[in-house]
């Protein structure tokens, strides 16, 4: 029967070409939109790896003040930590969680190269962001005076750089002046938010006299409000005249990051939703007309011994064959994306998107063909055969 259906479709390929193109185009649209959704959703399922609820980002800018900047930052941190509203506070580089700024460097070890995000921070960060240390330890005071620069890497970086080896205690030479030593491994740190991929990342202890990394992560106690924030800003302004002082909540920055991801997804979803509704209605109409045109054939098949169910199956089958033709065509195009590496998206994501697209295409064509096919099977053979 399948062979018969394929023959039937193939012999009418001229008439079906437009229909195949239409299903193909729907498949491509679905594939694109679904790839985007699957990519973001699989990322979303991975935990973010830190707590941000009560955390503020205090962004300090020294502007034209260039005297004793490192010292002033140190004193500012002490001041912040002294408030009773503050549970924990750490210094951090400008690539704070959820911020738009990014700092990455390539790291080499045993000829393997990994591009890793670099975060500068201090011994209190683990408490500030509730980071979970998998093995080894977090920074402590001893790291400030150690021979090598202590770093803590995330699991993703461990997998990338130390295939199978235990990275703890390993020394990574960067150049003659700088070598890293791995002292700890943390689980995950998706600083660009839930929808981003878990990228390799490393934390590095802020130097004793650092005057460059002037952000502070402040974990406040529950119930702290804008009054404290105003007091903090005012105190900082008196302490650091001429400096730029900006407080933002990680909670808010996170929402902004989400918006940047979700708004395009929503727009594509709405537009492709309308497109597919459009296609579905069109397909329904076309199938209805086609079946009306083939009443004679339906009558004949019934006379030759086809049951009502056979007729329904035949018309559904034809549409499925059409869908398969279109999907095969679509797969040829879709395959190019992972093959050419157009986007930095794992093959799995494409695979899931393709499967989901196939499923939805079959769902749509089946829904559209169901009613006309049932109608076809109800055509009375005696009437259909004598219409001409």
């Amino acid at each position: 029967m399948i062979r018969h259906l394929i023959k039937l479709i193939w012999n009418k390929r001229g008439t079906h070409a437009l229909l195949i193109i239409e299903i193909w185009a729907s498949f491509m649209v679905l594939f694109g939109v679904l790839s985007m959704i699957v990519y973001n959703f699989t990322n979303y399922l991975e935990p973010i790896g830190f707590q941000y609820e009560q955390v503020w980002n205090l962004d300090l800018k020294n502007n034209q003040d260039t005297i004793d900047v490192g010292d002033k930052l140190k004193r500012a941190l002490q001041r912040v930590r002294s408030y009773s509203e503050v549970a924990s506070a750490s210094r951090m580089s400008s690539n704070a969680p959820f911020s738009a700024s990014q700092m990455n460097n390539s790291v080499d070890y045993n000829k393997i190269n990994v591009l890793a995000d670099q975060y500068y921070t201090d011994e209190a960060m683990r408490a500030t962001l509730d980071l979970s240390v998998e093995s080894g330890r977090w920074f402590d005071e001893s790291d400030k005076v150690s021979k090598y620069v202590s770093i803590i890497i995330n699991k993703k970086m461990k997998e990338g750089l130390f295939t199978g080896d235990n990275p703890l205690g390993k020394v990574i030479k960067v150049d003659d002046k700088l070598s890293y030593k791995v002292v700890g491994i943390i689980d995950k740190f998706k600083s660009h938010g839930e929808f981003s991929a878990d990228e390799p990342g490393m934390f590095r202890m802020i130097g004793k006299d650092d005057n460059w990394n002037s952000n502070m992560m402040i974990k406040t106690k529950p119930g702290t409000d804008a009054n404290f924030e105003a007091r903090l800003v005012k105190d900082m302004a008196t302490m650091l005249p001429g400096w730029g002082i900006e407080v933002s909540y990680l909670k808010d920055s996170r929402n902004n990051r989400h918006k940047i991801t979700l708004v395009p997804v929503m727009i594509f979803l709405i537009v492709s939703g309308f497109l597919l509704t459009n296609v579905a209605l069109g397909l329904f109409g076309i199938l209805n007309l086609n079946i009306a045109k083939r009443r004679g054939e339906i009558g004949l098949r019934r006379a030759m011994g086809a049951t009502e169910a056979d007729v329904t199956t035949q018309f559904l089958g034809e549409v499925w064959v059409l869908a398969i033709f279109s999907i095969v065509l679509g797969l040829l195009f879709a395959m190019q994306f992972p093959l050419l590496g157009v986007f930095d998206v794992p093959v799995n994501t494409y695979a899931i998107a393709v499967l989901a697209a196939i499923l939805i295409i079959f769902l749509i064509v089946t829904l559209c063909a169901w009613y006309p096919s049932r109608q076809a099977s109800r055509i009375h053979p005696a009437v259909a055969l004598h219409e001409e």
């Binding site: 018969h4 005696a382 004598h386």
Partner: protein, 220 residues
């Protein structure tokens, strides 16, 4: 082989009731070649549809090969049509998008034959009607007579015991029509029971028995 008792067919629309067949009694024996004649609209096609199980009677009993079938449902009727009956129509009803051999194979699609068996049976049937050399052609490339021979091949491919022909020569000139009747006659000689609707006396004369209908009533 075919037995009709007190068969009546009424067509109902919301306002009008039409009596298409009235008290038809018929008994076609195995191996008989029967023709049905009558003016347009006398109900001969309706009668053939009822014999062919394409239409259900409003009243009466139908027996095919000893089985009472008038209360059969779709799932019981379809295999019966497929195995017992072969149809030939005035307008051929070939599927234009399928090649000759694929058209002939259609009845076999609704049984459990495999592709190879189907092909062999279809080739055999086409040889019987003398069209083995046109297997790969499409209906549009054939003449009317050739089309009807394809339709006959399709009707006999499943080796049914009964062949029902609805004005098989109606769309053909007399030479071609004769050829078709010759084929039917030889099928009959090989054991097929044939019921043919026609309005051509010459054709009817070549059958064993003639049934005449007038206004839904059997007059002969």
């Amino acid at each position: 082989m075919i037995k009709l008792q007190n068969v009546e067919k009424v067509y109902r629309t919301s306002s009008i009731e039409t009596l298409a067949l009235n008290n038809i009694n018929l008994d076609v024996k195995k191996g008989e070649f029967v023709s049905i004649m009558g003016p347009s609209g006398c109900g001969k096609s309706t009668l053939l549809n009822i014999i062919g199980l394409l239409d259900a009677p409003s009243k009466g009993i139908i027996e095919i090969d000893g089985r009472k079938v008038e209360r059969f449902n779709d799932k019981e009727i379809a295999p019966l049509r497929n195995k017992m009956l072969g149809f030939i129509f005035q307008s051929f009803h070939l599927i234009n998008d399928l090649s000759v051999i694929d058209n002939v194979e259609i009845p076999l699609l609704y049984r459990s034959n495999n592709a190879k068996q189907r092909r062999e049976l279809a080739e055999e049937a086409l040889e019987k009607v003398g069209l083995a050399n046109r297997m790969k052609h499409f209906p549009k490339q054939l003449s009317g007579g050739q089309k009807q021979r394809v339709a006959i091949a399709r009707a006999i491919v499943g080796k049914p015991e009964i062949i029902l022909a609805d004005e098989p020569t109606g769309n053909l000139d007399s030479a071609m029509g004769n050829e078709i009747i010759n084929i039917l006659q030889s099928l009959n000689e090989n054991g097929a029971t044939i019921v043919m609707v026609t309005h051509d006396d010459a054709m009817a004369k070549r059958t064993h028995r003639l049934i005449r209908l007038f206004d839904g009533t059997q007059v002969l």
